[in-house]
Amino acid sequence: MTPPPPTQQPPDPTGAEADDLAAVVALRELADRLEDAAVERAMRAGWSWAQAAEALGVTRQAVHKKHHRRLEAAGIELRRRNA
């Protein structure tokens, strides 16, 4: 595919291409916030790190590294058994 010649004008920030790219930004942000909320809800309900990790399809280390500081600061009693 031949790229179009460069234009002097910047693309429209609300054009079709910009909409698709902005959707990616908005989805990433939404996914991040939903993950924070969902992991916290699960841990408050007594889930272990290993269970939250399995449900997310990531390693226990990954989910722990990403959320443990935040959730410990929130005073959530994190389950040690099966942790």
Binding site: A23, L27, E29, L30
Partner: protein, 163 residues
């Protein structure tokens, strides 16, 4: 240009606004501090920059509404309806990282524009300079939010550069 965020010579007034931007990011559950958070922090002030934004309908509530509108439209572009805020409630991260859009805004800001002025004057104008840096972005969250809110970005830049 060196990274302004690690610049110890940063004007104290601007530094305060940048610290407020971190709080804006934390309040919104954001994992990084972006240009829109700096814009929110600037819009909360009653200085030259905050006043100019208010003239264009962008007081703090106005910016907040414009940013929400942009996110809703962007999600709809992917076929996603907005998720209820109560499902997104979470303990906030205490230390979001610096995002590339805020770095770029400060890089685009011309802090040397008022070099000849007195220090007090330069400090007063540093926040307005940072705002111009944010407004110079042609693409991304802020220009989209302003476009949907019907704000003339070029006119706002012109208004700020009069000082």
């Amino acid at each position: 240009m060196p990274d302004r965020l690690e610049d110890h010579a940063l004007d104290p007034t601007l530094k305060e606004v940048i610290i407020r931007a971190i709080d804006e990011a934390i309040d919104r559950g954001a994992s990084s501090v972006e240009a829109e958070h700096l814009l929110l922090a600037i819009s909360a002030g009653h200085d030259l920059a905050g006043g100019a934004l208010a003239e264009f309908g962008l007081d703090h509530d106005g910016v907040d509404a414009a940013l929400r509108g942009e996110r809703e439209r962007s999600l709809r572009a992917a076929g996603i309806e907005p998720v209820a805020e109560e499902r997104l409630v979470a303990t906030r991260k205490s230390r979001p990282v610096w995002g590339s859009t805020v770095r770029e805004a400060l890089r685009r800001a011309d802090f040397t524009a008022h070099r000849g002025r007195r220090r007090v004057e330069r400090e007063r104008l540093a926040v307005a300079d940072a705002l111009v840096g944010i407004l110079r972005a042609d693409l991304g969250t802020v220009p989209r939010a302003l476009a949907y809110a019907g704000v003339d970005r070029t006119a706002l830049i012109t208004r700020l550069e009069q000082h």
